[in-house]
Symmetry: D2
Subunit: 255 residues, 4 copies
Amino acid sequence: MRINLNADLGESFGAYRIGHDALLLQVVTSANLACGFHGGDPLVMTQTVELARGAGVSIGAHPGFPDLQGFGRRVMHLSPPELRGILLYQIGALDGIARATGSRVTHVKPHGALNNLACEQAELANILAQAVKDYGRDLILLAPARSRLAEAGERLGLPVALEVFSDRAYTDAGQLLPRSHPQALLPDSGACVAQVLRMLEAQAIVSIHGRRLPTPFQSICVHGDHAQAAETAGQIRQALEARGCRLVALPELFA
Amino acid sequence: MRINLNADLGESFGAYRIGHDALLLQVVTSANLACGFHGGDPLVMTQTVELARGAGVSIGAHPGFPDLQGFGRRVMHLSPPELRGILLYQIGALDGIARATGSRVTHVKPHGALNNLACEQAELANILAQAVKDYGRDLILLAPARSRLAEAGERLGLPVALEVFSDRAYTDAGQLLPRSHPQALLPDSGACVAQVLRMLEAQAIVSIHGRRLPTPFQSICVHGDHAQAAETAGQIRQALEARGCRLVALPELFA
Amino acid sequence: MRINLNADLGESFGAYRIGHDALLLQVVTSANLACGFHGGDPLVMTQTVELARGAGVSIGAHPGFPDLQGFGRRVMHLSPPELRGILLYQIGALDGIARATGSRVTHVKPHGALNNLACEQAELANILAQAVKDYGRDLILLAPARSRLAEAGERLGLPVALEVFSDRAYTDAGQLLPRSHPQALLPDSGACVAQVLRMLEAQAIVSIHGRRLPTPFQSICVHGDHAQAAETAGQIRQALEARGCRLVALPELFA
Amino acid sequence: MRINLNADLGESFGAYRIGHDALLLQVVTSANLACGFHGGDPLVMTQTVELARGAGVSIGAHPGFPDLQGFGRRVMHLSPPELRGILLYQIGALDGIARATGSRVTHVKPHGALNNLACEQAELANILAQAVKDYGRDLILLAPARSRLAEAGERLGLPVALEVFSDRAYTDAGQLLPRSHPQALLPDSGACVAQVLRMLEAQAIVSIHGRRLPTPFQSICVHGDHAQAAETAGQIRQALEARGCRLVALPELFA
């Protein structure tokens, strides 16, 4: 069984360092790279693309709201043409940098508040999926399982990889507990590994109260900004491999 | 004889309107589009790409320093990797937007202080030309005639279109009089037409003192931010056509 | 009878010019100056403060969301401490510039989406009013009549000047028709003058359907971004003076 | 003997954390706070002002170039009015936040490339000193000993506190070795303490080659961005106190 392990990387900005990119790139098989709006800058993007290439990790655009101060986590009300514009701009910017290093963007995963809204609002989800499709290079949409975003991508005929989260608790409705909730983040690596295995076995999202929401999924997300992110990711990878999973980059899932 | 007429467009930002894009797009044959750093935003870029496509005008990236407040006209000291990063980022961003509307970026022309520096400094010129080459899609470099930038592009084997300016006065050394100089801008449309014809006949840059600096050139630049920009461009176009020139988009020059 | 006439000014940014500041400063008696977040930059602010001082027009801070691209008209979800921070920052920045030219900020009027939200949401209104109070220099709060913002200011004991709009249509509930509505903006100067006189006579907001919502008011707002803004403002001023009103700066209302 | 110990603080931005503010505030007696252009944001500024107030540490504005991506370390060419504008804007913004928490800005120290230029260029130094003077609240100028900036402040009659650096090596001309130089930063806490004591005893800047450049000084700067910054600062403080120095906030030096 093939499965993908993804993380958000390249979110540093100028003198500001965030995340554990070098360590995580040794573990994950796909990386979602910030594109300069909520994090990342052209130099950080260049360096991360090169690191990912060296590590054999496929890269995707991780576009967010134009809000560096809020790290893309604050809701902004943009019009549909504005939304479409910021998506194509960010995907293209990263792809431009990737192209020049002999690499390419192969997937897209929205960031933060933009992703959250696209999981819940069909109209926004559709704008995102359409923009990915119009970019036109068989880009894979990496979307949360059971989300409006995944639905929109499938409806438009995009290759859609469904992801579940290793380190975030789910509500009984299958949504992430908001970051403001005290139990939003799982407490340690052990809990993350356990959640992944539980979902893998059940082929379902398993909520904080144990409720099962059946869904296929092809990718597991580990967040890069935790102190223990790389260690947790490594343990998840080991656990998956111990159960016979082969970890692959996203393009391999659709090859 | 085929010749190109280019202008800087798409430099509006959000609620701020600048330039006379719709009028100029009826006259020029190639447009240099701001890419969000010194001007332009994703929505403006989208709209301008669509307008250009409708008008049959080829588009190029017009990357500048990351300095919206200074409109890219203030010198910034960036390291070579930073410079390379901002170029690829901006070219890619515009190309991403273009791609989604069925268009493509076919040339690159740096903006403002970045362009001025690249005309004078061989090292910077080389970084720019190399970034254009590494983007890797047979992009044309649109560079001032007799500039370091043009030299760098030719040395790297890029298709280079040499341009002269219709509305700016030249020094005896063949450089533009800086904008701070009272005679930097030619006074009216008539003076611009006369300068273009003088240079065309001489196959040379003709300085403010009448000095001739021989050079081939394939493109004539009209600046989009003057009040009379569109009218001037129209008169230049008429004068060129009256002398038997055929105005073509940049890619046609290299077809 | 004393009345104030205010307009939003200083909203240009870098090379981008917007509004008709010089003309409007000859007509209005108080100016709300953008503070660099949705418009304005340190140089524009300096120049506008000096122009206002020369014209004898009192100045206020016009703080907005940190969203230049959206001109502060896009809703952003900020936390209470973030909101408080951006208010104090912007008020202080303008006051710093004013201080150095021998002037001072004497009132505050929020801009765009921030103002709209503060008119409707008591919690946000309270954060704004508290920030103005904590700045601590007897700042006047300029707030729409019958708004939550005005209520919050009065509850906190601030000097509050109530304003009505000369050029925007009101709903029967006393709110502005949103800009997206085709009748949001009154069609011409005559309609604006008529609306002002109607409200003055009725001592009420008069809705688009003629409904009267009684309220005192001390200030009339003319928007600076219309093409005819200065002419309209001039006609309003003449009509007010013809009815015996004396136009005064905001501090005079509370002297 | 009274002496001041200062550090650059409040340089975090949004989700990006930098420096060791809480630890350093227990050791230094004055803090230079970023004002949102090269680092810092309104919320970070608010929090740092409150921390400083709680620790009894006086605060100063630490204005920089408008270049978050370059952390204010990249040279930008601004016109004199632009420079004046960004200084007053930043000083006022921080003072606005300070005022609302019952505190005040009592000194100014430019940041990064802006400071470096002002140390060498008399014209720029004069613009900075004049802006500080025009802000008009007896602001202290904190300037490197033997710099053009210090000279400009003294010529204008400002209270000037001269500083030397504990953790940076000096050239024989009395300037800081640029950060790009391998020996620019002293290797460890011991070297920093030794340099401070050497300069204190000599009442001179002591260069990397041991050359003495006599100068009075009233403040010692410790940089906040080193991993060992707080520990180093603590050791310097102990060493100073062991030699009978009393560490005071900047305003006490001029009381």
